[in-house]
Every structure is written in C-alpha cells, then in structure tokens.
C-alpha cells in the first residue's frame, strides 16, 4: 500500500529523507516553475557567483510552462501541467547541489545524474500526471510573483502558492531508488526476452 503524506514548503532535509519511492505527496506552500531557458539562466548566474531573484533553498522546482491570463492586473493560472523533465537532466544536479532545491516536480522521470544528486544532497522527484493541467491549476491558489518574463511566458519563473498540490508520486527518492529507471529496465528485459523467444537476438 502506498503511503500518502501532506507536506508544507519549505521542505527540510529530514522530511525529504523520510520519503520513499511510491509514496504519494500533496504539497502546500510555494513552488517555483522553471524549464529549459530558466535552468540555463539560473546556472549561468550560479557560475558567475551572482544571486538569483528568488531563493530556492528548501523549495520545489516545477517543470512547467503554465497557460496564464491577465485579469484585472492579476495573473490567473488556467492550466499548469508538467513538462518533460528529462530535458533538464544535464542541469538539475547543479540546481540541487548549489541552490538547495529539495524537490523536483515534473513528468517522465529523470536520469542517473539527477538521482545521484538527490541521494547526495537530499532531494526527491515527484511525478505529476502529464497533461492533467487543469487538475494542477486547481491547486494553484495565487500567483505570488513572476520573474524573467523576457524568456517568454512558458519559460519564465512563476512563483506559485499551492494548496494540496498533487497527487505527486515519489519516483526518485534520496536513497538511490528510481521508479522510472526500474520500469524502463524491466521493459528492455522483456523486449530482449521476446526477441530471444522468436529467435531474433
């Protein structure tokens, strides 16, 4: 049976270390969206030793480019499902190490480099159902801030206040387990076995 937990951001290392692959988490507090271009800019700043416009220590990064509308001078989030996390694979380990990101939320899973950084520095990956953008937007209570709009709406850093944001399936924990990796390895094994059976290998 999968455990269900309700957590508040910022997240402590202890809370994160308790989580195991297969746990289901609902988040409340602040989460920050960042995709390809935002990751690149964040890491350029880290390299240059310059500060970020937002302190991410203890907070989740959400791989998401939301669909938004301005109403009466306020941003409204209409749809905000996750984007494919694997694109951020080359950069995410640095964000975890240098910026203290405690959770990465996205879809499709991430690779070894990120999983290693999560084990080392205490962070987890939470999978949200890809395409379930309205379910996600329903849990966004407010747009607190937005930075780097010059990157375009999908690529900007959206600082979102969320309530009961989930279900997030913990798919990489801080103990070296990677659910997507396991599913994928088994899939390759099944494929190779089927080839052998048909005398193809």
């Amino acid at each position: 049976m999968n455990r269900t937990l309700r957590l508040k951001t910022p997240l402590s290392e202890m809370e994160i270390r308790r989580l195991k692959v297969g746990d289901i988490v609902y988040l409340s507090g602040i989460i920050v969206t960042a995709r390809d271009a935002a990751h690149k800019r964040m890491l350029d700043l880290v390299e240059a030793g310059k500060p970020l416009p937002i302190n991410l220590r203890g907070f989740p990064i959400y791989h998401c480019g939301p669909l938004v509308r301005m109403e009466d001078g306020r941003w409204i989030v209409l749809a905000a499902g996750p984007t494919t996390s694997m694109r951020m694979e080359p950069l995410e380990s640095v964000a975890i190490e240098k910026l203290g990101v405690r959770m990465v939320i996205g879809k499709g899973g991430m690779g070894k480099k990120t999983a290693d950084a999560m084990a080392r520095f205490g962070s987890v990956y939470g999978a949200f159902t890809g395409g379930a953008a309205i379910l996600a937007a329903r849990h966004v209570t407010r747009v607190v801030d937005v930075k780097w709009l010059d990157l375009g709406v999908p690529e900007a850093l959206w600082v979102l206040e969320v309530k009961g944001f989930g279900p997030l399936i913990i798919a990489i924990d801080s103990h070296g387990n990677n659910l997507f990796g396991e599913v994928n390895e088994r899939a390759w094994e099944r494929y190779r076995f089927a080839l052998q059976e048909s005398g193809e290998a």
């Binding site: 669909l67 209409l78 499902g81 984007t83 899973g109 395409g131 379930a132 379910l135 279900p167 997507f180």
Partner: protein
C-alpha cells in the same frame, strides 16, 4: 460572410474544440484503458487523466497547458473558390484563438529564441494541402504538444532487415521514449518513400479514428502485432508501469527506393487533439469530429 471570414471563424472554432474536448474515439480508448489497467500507479494516472478531461469540458479550458504547435490539414476541393486566401485566414484564426481561448504562445524563433507571443511565425501555423475533387474545403486543426513530438524518430534502415527489422525499430523507439511522450500514446508509423514521405505518413496516420480497423488486412495485422508487442513492455501510463503504453498503432506506407527502407515513428500523447470541419461553397459548415450545437 465572405469565404475568408468563414474560414477564419471555422478554424478558430476548430482550435477551441480541439484543445478543450477530445474526440469521442480517443475518450473511449482512454476509458477502456482505465477499466482494464491492473497496475495501481498506472491506473491512478488514467483516473487523473479522465478527471482532467471532464474538468476541461466543464470549465471550457484547454486540457493541457501545452496547446501545441499548430498544423492545419486542408483537403481542398479543386472547385472551391477562394483557396488563395485560406492560409491568411488560418493565420488570423490562430492569432484570434491564442487571444480568446487562450492558447499558450508556442512559436519561437530558433535563432534569437524570441517567442512571437501569438503562435504565428515563419511557416507557422503549418498548412498541409491536399487537392481533392469537389467544391468543399475540409479543415483539420491539429495542435500537437512538444513532449510527444520530441520522441518522434526516423531511421533509414537497410532494406535487408525486412519487416522484422522495422518492427524492432518501432518497439525500440517506444522503449527509448519511455514516459516522456505522455503514454498511453497513439503511435503513427510511416514506411517507405523517402525520409520526408515516411514522416509525413506517420504524422497523418495520427489523424485516423482509433476505433476503425485498417481496411488493408495485412496492415491491420501489422498494427495489431505492434500494439501487442508495445503493450507487453510494461512502460504503462506516464511511464510508471502498466499494460497500457499505447492506445493504438496506425501504419501507413508508400513504395520505397530499392536501396532505402525509411521508417518513421510519430508519437501522439493521450491528449490527442484534433478537430475537423467541412465548409461548403454555399457557406454551410459541417463539423466532423465534434458535436457542435450552434455553428
């Protein structure tokens, strides 16, 4: 109304229908997958998907925040008057839909990385023309998300690998894609022609209704074999495990060059958005994929 106004109005409606409401064949395939999925994590993903589809219809909002890169497939009757103005009307429709629905601005200059802000840019929206006999104009709006687009593959295989070789390439493409294209996906496979022709065929195969078997029994059998082999991998909904990695496999082919054996695999996410309508010369409009109450 003039022809260009009708085309603009219909295209904008089609975009709204496409991004808000999935065609009924796609919904039925997802519901069936939910009923039959046994893996609890995979089943939970399908449950969230079904709930999201319902909310999108209820709130009249786009199903997914990625409202895609927009292609229009146009089947133009040779005797339809005003064809020279159709592309301009489609561009106008995209700008209008982007503002009104709204759609996420998804057109980016590949050199400056600037987002145009209105989903229009060089060659966007992309228009695929097909000239057919008759006096009507059939338009299909096909907004396709980036996640499933990024896992599309093309191989110029050696003809000696044969049908078994092409099947291996398709299944390995699905293995490499894993959870990234938002499974359960629809998979279009284009075989033969040149590199461009095979990918064209693979993409166009994604427009076929899921519930209609291929009229060519040999191709129908190949589709079924690929469907079985892909769903035996256990990648499952969103790559979290389960027996529904794909909802349907659709194969199209052209004859090939003796030296070439091109195979293209086009992935479509579960949010398989498409909407079609036929405009007649008298200005009347038939919606083909969705029920429309007032048109």
């Amino acid at each position: 109304m003039r022809v260009e106004e009708i085309v603009e109005d219909v295209a904008a409606r089609l975009l709204r229908l496409a991004v808000v409401k999935l065609p009924s064949d796609v919904k039925r395939a997802i519901e069936r997958a939910y009923r039959e999925e046994e893996n609890p994590l995979g089943k939970a993903q399908l449950q969230a998907i079904i709930e999201n589809i319902r909310l999108a219809e209820e709130l009249e909002r786009p199903i997914c925040q990625d409202t895609g890169l927009i292609t229009f497939y146009v089947r133009a009757g040779a005797d339809f008057r005003g064809l020279d103005r159709v592309e301009l009307s489609l561009k106008r429709a995209v700008k209008k839909a982007t503002r009104q629905i709204p759609l996420r601005p998804n057109a980016v200059n590949p050199f400056t990385q600037q987002n145009s802000g209105n989903n229009v840019g060089r060659l966007l929206p992309y228009v695929k023309w097909d000239i057919v006999p008759g006096e009507h104009l059939e338009i299909t709006a096909f907004p396709k998300g980036g996640g499933s687009e990024n896992t599309c593959t093309l191989a110029m295989l050696s003809p000696s690998v044969g049908v078994e070789g092409l099947k291996r390439f398709v299944v390995e493409s699905v293995l490499k894609a894993g959870g990234m294209p938002c499974p359960p996906t629809i998979i279009g496979v284009g075989i033969g022609g040149g590199a461009d022709i095979s990918m064209d065929l693979a993409k166009a195969a994604l427009l076929r209704p899921l519930n209609k078997p291929n009229p060519d029994p040999w191709i129908a059998d190949l589709e079924h074999q690929l469907y079985r082999e892909i769903n035996a991998l256990g990648i499952g909904p969103m790559g979290l495990g389960g027996k529904f990695t794909t909802l349907a496999v659709k194969v199209s082919y052209a004859y090939r060059h003796p030296a070439s054996y091109p195979v293209a695999v086009a992935f479509q996410c579960w949010a398989a958005r498409r909407a079609s309508a036929r405009i007649h010369m008298d200005g009347s409009v038939e919606y083909l994929t969705h029920k429309v109450e007032e048109a």
